[in-house]
């Protein structure tokens, strides 16, 4: 093997320009592979962080119980109607919160009381979604600290945080008060202590954040919560984590993918496109290496014949040409991966990405995979010409 490696290396270094061109061709394929990996991966990351990144990954929602049937003695059935005046509640779940938070992969647990209501100021009344969150956990799910444009993201009793569009619609400034009425009919007056801007219509125009205590008052839930939101370290583990939490607590934990099926499909389709493009890049590499080695074996026919006449077996000839393929793959892979990495350094990270920029994640370049696949592809590409070389009739190859 060592001697075959020496001959393979000698053949490659004997035609420096040809080898350099071949390595450059392979490196270009690897560069495209890495660029596509970083782009597709970065794009997926960007889309996720701008959509799912600001939502809960697993949620537990209190469901309305079916109306009870009342059977009085006169034989007539009476049904209790569903009512928005009574919010469904997750009772006795407090013990589960630390249990869930302690699970590996869980980033944050946010118990909440949520519902609908109105804000009124002067003659204006606007319908809103009320999110009651535990003080200190304001940024556990959505990064309110990051989106804050005025005031504070800390919620105390009697304070409210609104989106900038809603605050503008109400012509409301920090420190001013607004009346909030929930669907239960309970109203309270709250002081605006923070204004955020997410850049998304719904949350900016129709969501108000209040403390958990304030929300309990508004929805008449003296104890418990009606929703638990959980954020994970890895969004891709949401399905498994939802099952685990459900098994652990007996609560109906749901993954974001249940409601975000379209987004999951879109990301899967995008990943498939990436695989196809990367496969084409690999096919280009394989064809390039195979054609170059076919030419090489044709050009070196007399030498192959001489080697066979001197006692080199067919297997030795195969190894010489397969090693050439492997060396070309390795050199092209390393060069392509190196230049790919350097080129990707020029792009801003996802955190620094400006609107309209290219969302490239340098960490998702799949460098090792690119080099490994290239070497494997080059080896596979070299097998056909190598076998052809080994099968040559030494007499015909020598020409005598």
């Amino acid at each position: 093997m060592l001697y075959a490696l020496k001959i393979a290396t000698r053949y490659l270094t004997a035609s420096k320009a040809q080898t350099a061109l071949l390595v450059l061709g392979v490196a270009t394929g690897v560069f495209i592979f890495i660029f596509m990996s970083a782009l597709i991966g970065g794009l997926a990351e960007y889309i996720l962080s701008n959509t799912v990144g600001d939502i809960e990954h697993v949620s537990i929602q209190a469901e309305d119980a079916d109306p009870a049937l009342l059977i009085p003695s006169d034989g007539v059935l009476y049904a209790l109607q569903k009512s928005t005046l009574r919010a469904a509640t997750l009772r006795n779940t407090e013990n589960f919160w630390p249990l869930i938070a302690a699970l590996p992969g869980v980033k944050a647990v946010s118990p909440q009381v949520n519902g609908s209501g109105f804000v009124t100021r002067g003659a204006q009344a606007l319908q809103i979604s009320i999110q009651g969150v535990e003080p200190g956990l304001e940024s556990a799910i959505i990064n309110l600290d990051g989106y804050l444009v005025e005031g504070t993201a800390r919620l105390a009793a009697g304070s409210v945080m609104l989106g900038r569009t809603l605050a503008d619609d109400l012509d409301l400034r920090l420190g001013q008060t607004v009346r909030m009425t929930s669907t239960t009919g309970i109203a309270t007056v709250l002081t605006l202590t923070g204004i955020y801007y997410i850049g998304s219509g719904g949350p900016d125009r129709a969501t108000a954040y209040v403390s958990l205590g304030t929300a309990r008052t508004l929805f008449a839930i003296p104890q418990g919560v009606n929703r638990i939101e959980i954020k994970l370290d890895d969004i891709n583990t949401a399905d498994a984590m939802a099952l685990r939490i459900a098994g652990l607590t007996g609560l109906d934990a749901k993954s974001w993918t249940e409601q975000g099926a379209q987004l999951v499909d879109a990301l899967t389709a995008q990943a498939r496109v990436g695989y196809v493009l990367k496969t084409f890049a690999l096919i280009t590499i394989v064809i390039g290496v195979a054609s170059a080695l076919l030419l090489s074996t044709y050009r070196r026919r007399p030498e192959i014949g001489i080697m066979r006449a001197m006692g080199a077996g067919r297997w030795f000839v195969v190894v010489v040409f397969v090693m050439q393929g492997a060396l070309i793959g390795l050199l092209g892979g390393l060069f392509g991966a190196g230049t790919g990495y350097i080129a990707l350094l020029a792009f801003p990270s996802l955190d620094e990405l400006k609107p309209g920029g290219m969302p490239i994640d340098i960490r998702q370049g799949a460098y090792g995979m690119a080099i490994l696949l290239t070497v494997c592809g080059a080896v596979l590409a070299s097998i056909l010409p190598a076998r052809g070389a080994a099968r040559m009739d030494p007499v015909a190859a020598i020409g005598k």
């Binding site: 093997m1 060592l2 001697y3 020496k6 000698r10 053949y11 004997a14 007399p302 030498e303 014949g305 001489i306 080697m307 066979r308 006449a309 001197m310 006692g311 080199a312 077996g313 067919r314 030795f316 030494p394 007499v395 020598i398 005598k400």
Partner: protein, 225 residues
């Protein structure tokens, strides 16, 4: 005398049907250990085909072929390759050195390909052979930078590298000037004399044939003299 090689009723045909050409037609030949034999005959008489079969690069269509008591006519490609590497050396008309290798690397090739690497012992033997060929100052020269005569002497050294019992030379001086041709033949004669290596040299040149102690004439696919 001990027989080194023996072929009996050797037949070789190329093509099939109407295109069939019978090149060897029941050829018999015995080479003794230490022979220095010239293989003579007109073009198309079957000399090259015979050398190719004796060199185990081609199998006969029929007939027996034994060397060192090994039945080579029945051996497979792998066995023939190993046998060729160990027991047979080749010298071609056009030297056929590996162009991207130095003189020494060319000489040690038959040993290195068997052992999987260029051992110090192999390099030492290769060096000694090149010195003996008068190429002490060309050991590390790229083979492409050598003259025709020097290349052919490197080829002779390569043929002797594994101390083969038989060296087959096909027109070894056919591409050389008179002085170089004589130099190569003197070297061959010296090795034959000193080491007892058997040589079978195909040639058209009567003067080269005169260097050999034995002349074998082939005509129309059989030994005629």
């Amino acid at each position: 005398m001990t027989a080194l090689l023996e072929v009996r009723n050797l037949v070789k045909t190329f093509g099939t049907g109407e295109a069939e050409t019978r090149v060897l037609r029941g050829l018999d030949l015995t080479l003794q250990v230490g022979d220095l034999a010239a293989l003579l005959g007109p073009s198309g008489s079957g000399k090259s085909t015979l050398l190719t079969i004796l060199g185990t690069l081609m199998q006969p269509t029929s007939g027996s072929h034994t060397m060192l008591n090994v039945d080579l006519a029945a051996a497979n490609d792998a066995a023939l390759t190993t046998f060729r590497n160990l027991h047979i050396g080749f010298v071609f008309q056009f030297h056929n050195l590996l162009p991207d290798f130095t003189a020494l690397e060319n000489v040690v090739f038959p040993t290195a390909v068997r052992e999987g690497r260029e051992t110090p012992a192999a390099r030492a033997r290769g060096h000694d052979l090149l010195v003996r060929m008068g190429l002490a100052d060309r050991v590390d020269f790229p083979s492409t930078n050598l003259s025709g005569g020097q290349k052919q002497r490197v080829a002779v050294a390569r043929a002797l590298m594994n101390r083969p019992e038989l060296v087959l030379a096909d027109e070894p001086t056919g591409n050389l000037d008179r002085a170089s041709a004589l130099q190569v033949m003197e070297l061959i004669g010296e090795i034959n004399r000193d080491e007892g290596t058997t040589f079978l040299i195909s040639t058209h040149d009567e003067k080269i044939a005169a260097f050999c102690r034995r002349q074998i004439v082939v005509g129309d696919g059989v030994v005629t003299g």
